[in-house]
């Protein structure tokens, strides 16, 4: 079995773009691989297994490689993303918890005004009740006067206590609050269960009193449960000692759980390192834990997300990769196995049969029914084997016949012992000498001369219409001349000369005296001094392969017995000639088989590689057909290129290896001719053609054999001889069979290339899938942000109303105070009046700020609610241009109202054909207001830089685009930096300084355009030059998008 190389480079001339990695596997290890029984059946040993394993290896390495990279990237992204998100969530959660406490503090704060010490106890109690009413978390309230005596205590559970006078001056809730304005007590657990904390605030003024409130921290539960961390994540709060203050599972809090032994809590208490880590959560599961401290309270907020949820995308990716890997390997296995089985089975059969034939089993036949090239090869093989067997059998039969005849004659001519012995000798020589005719002829001639009493005896063979003297006895030295003369004279085998006539008429010619025959050629008489001449043809299957001549220098006719004897010698000579010819044929056939087997071995050893296979094919074809030079060409369209060349000088080889236009003889192949056979190319080639170039190297006889796949011409093989000698049918047949093998090799290579293409496609599909997944994740993220926003907005709205209402009320009260002061007139000492007026002014100023910022907060909350609201108004056909113009005017007036000195040019670029579009008019107007507002702001910002000659301009345009309409808002303001452009549609992202924007405008607009209207929203910007927003909405509402 030919030793196969390990799979090598797969680069092929046909598909140079595929450059794949070379798996270098040591061959012994491959052989040691023990395949399971099923797999072994699918992949028989040898070529098929290597083929299959190479494919599996290739696909496996590719998929495992991409899969591993994919996994790693997904893991890194998921972990990094989660760590970042957790950290932010922890921070946000800490802020919300802190706000919960700060909100209570600020509510308590309005009982700390300076004059509160002077109001009636009834009024104080009223204020405290209102406070309790507004803040459900406050259970008890205490007022302690400037001397540290309790003046009022209110409880939700117990009767109120007025003027108890209890001394609290040493209690930290008084002393610390007076010293530091406010004091936040430690967390304590009422009746060992409910977490409470005391807040106390010092009043304004000299000798300040203190308001202390006991806050039921159970109510933080609402805040903590409202914090959404992924799907199964949660947040909890501990105090500085690690005791649980708030947790979504209330029962843990009420049991006064101490978490300080949890590693993440211990770490947070110890050093405050806020990097999220994976640890065991309070419920024993692995979680990604992050925390943030609330410094003003000394609490720590933990945010934990189950690791399983963090890693969910990684697992999904792993499963996906494994499925793809399995699928790819299976596909490769099946395809590789199938291809190899298709190819190897017949080849093996051929190989085995050739081997048995070589071993002498001539009855060997191949039963291969397929109609492909291998089938054709098998049929040729069968035909050849048949011929050999037939020849062999005939030979054997003839030998037996002759032996019998001789034996019989020997018996008959008992007395002619010498003759018998001689004949036997000749026969012995014939049967012992198989290759060399010389000794046989020598013996024949000598014996014939002796037994038939011939003076001159010779054997001549006919070769290409001419005689060739083989052996001669008794002739004078001029025999060679004589033979030549005979040959020249009787070239046409005409005339009466004995030798040509015997050959021509295939019978014995006996002339008694050629000298007495008028017109007989003179040479035999004069040069050979012959008189009586006996010429016998060497007949074989009715054809004369040559002749034997016996002649006497005197006139003495040969006897019947002598003629018969000479005839038997002639027959023996013919047998010997035939014998040698058959042996030569046998050898040739074996050489062809060997060559075929070598080509198959080359295909076997180089799967998918064409060059070595072509090279072997060409070498063997040339060697077997006696061609010296030639090449194997492949065509592509009307271009051809030699893949391998043999025997040409280097410059011609280089020329042939380039791409050339087809023409000349190849066109005849294209036209469908079986082949092109040129006897003398030098004579036929047109100057300047490739043929002429080839002929220039001394090529004479040239053969072009096509490589055909069905009707398609793939290329051809040229076999050129440097001599003029036509190709025989056998050689042509041989060349065609090599051509068929070349076609087979091309098909093989193509199948392999297709397999690789499929693999690449699979990989591409995987990439697409991943992209889609990423987009989905982004969409989900935005959606959850929206829900979160709605939740927060609802939470904030109620307390905010209180803030706003009471701030307004308080402002009126301050005014009343001022009025009362005025009314009091001189009754109030000037110093006190001054102090009170100053305090009142300060209060009024503060309240104005509260009102202003409260309204801002209110607008943020309303925006947030609008942001999360689903749909709004009614969708109807609206004329676009008037709507846009109205929005422009509104935005302009709005901007003017905010900044009276505003300088900006508003340009309109309306398309009169804009027409109607299905819009939610209010929502769409809101989008335009936002965009124009932003544009005006951007120009104003740039205007502040004081660039000379800068003219702030905002251009609003509309455009009809068939099924949709477009609105553009372009300003020549500051532009948006590249880094920010990605984030501008995120909620709460703003580039404006704090207080000027909510960060919801563009996010809202994006939702309105994209989700509500099913349109698109894009931005183009260059920093310091311009920003252009482009809104595209469909004219007609699409059902699937419209109300979503």
């Amino acid at each position: 079995m030919p030793h196969a190389l390990p799979p090598r480079a797969f680069a092929m001339p046909l598909t140079p773009r595929l450059q794949l990695p070379r798996p270098r596997w040591p061959r012994p290890r491959l052989q040691r691989l023990a395949l399971p029984a099923g797999l072994a059946r699918l992949l028989p040993a040898g070529l098929a297994r290597r083929f299959g394993l190479a494919m599996v290896g290739l696909v496996g390495v590719l998929l495992v490689g991409t899969g591993a990279v994919n996994m790693w990237v997904t893991y890194a992204e998921a972990t990094a993303g989660a760590v970042q998100v957790q950290r932010e969530k922890a921070q946000a959660a800490a802020e919300r918890v802190a706000q919960f406490i700060e909100a209570i503090e600020s509510q308590v704060g309005w009982t700390t005004r300076a004059e509160w010490a002077r109001v009636s106890p009834e009024q104080r109690r009223y204020d405290f009740i209102r406070l309790q009413r507004q803040v459900p978390a406050i259970t008890d309230l205490q007022y302690i006067d400037g001397n540290g005596r309790e003046q009022l205590r209110l409880s939700r559970l117990e009767p109120d206590v007025v003027g108890s006078g209890q001394d609290f001056s040493a209690d930290p809730l008084f002393s610390r609050a007076v010293a530091e304005r406010s004091w936040r007590g430690p967390v304590y657990f009422r009746r060992g269960s409910e977490p409470y904390m005391t807040l106390s605030l010092a009043h304004v003024g000299r000798m300040p009193g203190v308001t202390a409130a006991s806050v039921n921290l159970k109510l933080i539960w609402d805040v903590v449960t409202a914090i959404r961390i992924g799907q199964a994540g949660y947040a909890y709060v501990t105090d500085a000692a690690g005791r649980l203050v708030a947790h979504p599972d209330m029962s843990l809090v009420l049991r006064e759980t101490d978490l300080s032994r949890l590693p993440q809590v211990a770490r947070a208490i110890a050093n405050g390192d806020a990097t999220p880590t994976t640890v065991l959560g309070p419920d024993g599961r692995h979680v990604l834990s992050a925390h943030a401290a609330i410094p003003q309270l000394g609490w720590i907020v933990f945010v934990e997300l189950p690791r399983r949820e963090v890693l969910a995308p990684v697992w999904a990716s792993l499963v996906q990769t494994l499925v793809l890997l399995g699928f790819g390997v299976l596909l490769a296995l099946l395809l590789g196995g199938w291809l190899a089985r298709r190819m190897v089975g017949p080849i093996r059969l051929l190989q085995a049969s050739a081997q048995r034939l070589g071993e002498g089993d001539l009855g060997q036949r191949i039963s291969l029914e397929s109609q492909d090239e291998i089938g054709a090869l098998a049929r040729r093989f069968n035909a050849m084997a048949g011929r050999i067997q037939e020849a062999q059998e005939t030979l054997e039969a003839k030998v037996v016949d002759r032996t019998q005849a001789v034996t019989q004659r020997t018996a008959e001519l008992q007395e002619a012992l010498e003759q018998q012995t001689a004949t036997a000798e000749v026969l012995r020589l014939i049967s012992s000498t198989t290759y060399d005719l010389e000794p046989v002829f020598q013996k024949l001639v000598e014996t014939a001369a002796r037994l038939c009493q011939s003076d001159r005896t010779a054997v001549l063979l006919v070769e290409q219409g001419r005689f060739r003297a083989e052996t001669a006895v008794g002739f004078p030295a001029a025999f060679g001349v004589l033979v030549k003369r005979i040959a020249d004279d009787v070239a046409s085998f005409e005339g009466m000369a004995a030798l040509p006539r015997a050959v021509r008429e295939r019978r014995v010619i006996h002339y008694e005296d050629i000298a007495a025959m008028p017109g007989y050629p003179r040479a035999p008489i004069e040069l050979g001094q012959q008189r009586t001449v006996l010429a016998l043809p060497l007949l074989r299957d009715g054809v004369a392969a040559g002749a034997m001549i016996l002649s006497r220098t005197s006139v003495a006719p040969f006897t019947e017995r002598q003629i018969a004897l000479a005839g038997s010698f002639a027959d023996q000579a013919a047998i010997a000639v035939e014998n040698v010819r058959l042996l030569a044929e046998l050898r040739e056939a074996l050489a062809r088989q060997t060559a075929t087997a070598e080509v198959l071995a080359a295909i076997n050893a180089n799967p998918g590689q064409l060059e070595p296979v072509f090279s072997t094919i060409l070498d063997k074809a040339h060697a077997l057909c006696g061609a010296e030079v030639g090449a194997l060409f492949l065509v592509e369209g009307d271009e051809m290129q030699a893949m391998v060349a043999h025997g040409y000088p280097p410059h011609i080889t280089a020329e042939l290896m380039t791409r050339l236009r087809t023409g000349g003889r190849s066109e005849r192949l294209r036209a469908g001719e079986r082949l092109v056979h040129t006897l003398d190319l030098a004579a036929e080639a047109l100057p300047g053609t490739l043929d002429a170039l080839v002929a220039g190297c001394g090529v004479r006889t040239s053969m072009v054999v096509p490589l055909r796949e069905g009707d398609r011409l793939l290329g051809w093989i040229t076999a050129n001889r440097l001599r003029m000698q036509a190709y025989s049918e056998a050689e042509i047949g041989l060349l065609e069979s090599f051509a068929a093998q070349a076609v087979l090799a091309v098909q093989n290579a193509r199948l392999l290339a297709e397999l690789r293409e499929r693999t690449a496609e699979a990989e591409h599909a995987l990439d697409d899938l991943r992209l889609a997944q990423d987009r989905l994740v982004q969409t989900e993220k935005l959606a959850s942000l929206g829900q979160l926003t709605a939740g927060i907005a609802h939470e904030i709205k109620n307390p905010l109303n209180f803030v706003n209402n009471f701030a307004s009320l308080s402002a009126e009260l301050v005014q009343e105070l001022a009025d009362a002061l005025t009314a009091a007139g001189e009754a109030v000492p000037p110093a006190l009046r001054e102090e009170v007026t100053e305090l009142a002014d300060m209060l009024r100023g503060n309240l104005e700020k509260v009102v202003q910022h409260g309204q801002r907060a209110d607008s943020i909350v309303r925006n947030m609610l609008a942001h999360s609201r689903e749909g709004g108004g009614e969708r109807r056909q609206v004329a676009l241009n008037p709507l846009v113009e109205e929005a422009m005017n509104l935005a302009w007036h709005g901007a003017r109202a905010e900044k009276p000195g505003l300088n900006v040019t508003l340009e309109k670029a309306f398309d009169a054909a804009a027409g109607d579009a299905a819009l939610f008019p209010q929502e769409f107007t809101r989008v335009l207001l936002n965009l124009v507002g932003n544009a005006v702001y951007a120009t104003a910002q740039r205007g502040l830089r004081g660039e000379p000659g800068y003219e702030p301009t905002v251009r609003v345009g509309t455009r009809a685009l068939g099924d949709s309409v477009e609105v553009t808002v372009r300003d020549n303001g500051t532009g948006i930096p590249e880094a920010m452009r990605k984030r501008i549609f995120e909620p709460f992202f703003t580039t404006k300084p704090a207080g000027e924007g909510t960060g919801l405008g563009l996010s809202l607009s994006h939702d309105i355009v994209v989700k509500q209207h099913g349109g698109s929203f894009t931005v183009e910007s260059q920093e310091g030059a311009f920003t252009e927003f482009r809104v595209l909405v469909p004219r007609i509402a699409r059902e699937t998008m419209g109300e979503a």
Binding site: P159, D160, F189, S193, L254, Q320, L322, F327, L766
Partner: protein, 330 residues
């Protein structure tokens, strides 16, 4: 090629679907028991709230939840037999409304979730709020403490208040605590508190006649199932005699009582579903601390106030969570 990528996509999709889903509450069939010493009518509004809470936790009666109801119909002596009956059905969790003390003495093996007016620690059902014992836990309405607060409110509403009539059902567990708290507060506020025990409608009617004849200036009704059942009678009586009447649960004010101050019972009954859910999932009652109400409400019936000429002081009005006005009264 297209078909191939589709196939790959399908494979990938399947693999994604095959990932374990987040665990949902088990949809198996559960049976729980509901035991109360009261009549069905008294407790119906709160039972509905409890069912809402259960539905929010994923249990829907008739689908994956069966509730076995047992009513003592005001006869406490029947409670132990009913409890044993439920325990032997058996039920996974037993809910006890009001009569937890009686059930505790039976030493049942099944976990018990209760709501009760009294303090479970004082009633001996727990060593502390954080550590319930006897395989029982639940919620308290803190009725005892709040009676003091109610008396204080009556004092603020009625100028010169001297005498207050208290109506209570002695068979209601913890009633003696409420009575003690009322008496103690009365002494502190300088009020004369007369106590009227009403176990039946007959006793109630007799008590009302007595109050009408007395010099009582206001009435405080201990909130329990019996009183709730007869809230209309009580409210009409108070209106007829122009007596300010206060009680603990908002249904009284809706029936026409002048005002109420107490926990939002609906919140507590809804919260009860949380305990049942946790126990059904295998939590030990000892691990679920007893919860006290966090939110209290003060409801004023302005219509009644107008009718009897009572003025709710401004500071109390500031505390009002709800003011019932106009023709609404029931």
């Amino acid at each position: 090629m297209q078909r191939r990528s589709l196939m790959l996509a399908a494979l990938a999709g399947q693999s994604t679907l095959a990932l374990p889903a987040i665990a949902q509450p088990a949809a198996r069939q559960v049976r729980i028991g509901w035991l109360t010493g009261q009549r069905q009518a008294s407790i119906a509004p709160y039972l509905a709230t409890f069912r809402e809470g259960m539905a929010a936790a994923g249990y829907v009666e008739g689908r994956n939840l069966t509730i076995e109801y047992r009513y003592g119909d005001e006869d406490i002596s029947r409670v132990p037999a009913l409890a044993q009956e439920l325990a032997s059905l058996p039920v996974s969790v037993l809910m006890v409304q009001g009569v937890a003390t009686q059930v505790a003495q039976l030493g049942l093996k099944i976990p018990v979730a209760y709501v009760m007016s009294a303090d479970p620690v004082i009633a001996g059902l727990a060593t502390s709020l954080a550590h319930p014992s006897r395989n029982m836990t639940g919620l308290t309405f803190m009725a005892a403490e709040l009676n003091s607060k109610r008396l204080e409110m009556l004092r603020d509403i009625v100028p010169g208040l001297r005498q207050v009539a208290v109506i209570g059902n002695p068979e209601h567990a913890g009633e003696e605590l409420e009575r003690a708290a009322s008496r103690e507060t009365g002494q502190r506020l300088g009020l004369e508190v007369t106590f009227n025990a009403t176990r039946s409608i007959a006793e109630l009617e007799r008590a009302l006649r007595g109050i009408a004849a007395s010099r009582s200036q206001a009435v405080s009704v201990f909130a329990d199932g019996f009183a709730l059942q007869h809230r209309q009678l009580l409210a009409d009586f108070a209106l007829q005699h122009r007596l300010p009447l206060i009680s603990g649960w908002s249904l009284f004010a809706e029936a026409g009582a002048l005002c109420i101050y107490g926990p939002r019972l609906r919140e507590s009954y809804r919260r009860l579903a949380y305990y049942v859910d946790r126990m059904l999932r295998g939590a030990q009652p000892a691990d679920l601390p007893i919860e006290r109400p966090t939110v209290f409400e003060f409801v004023v019936n302005q219509k009644t106030a107008n009718a009897i000429g009572a003025t709710i002081p401004q500071h109390l009005m500031a505390l009002a969570d709800r003011v019932i006005e106009g023709e609404g009264g029931r």
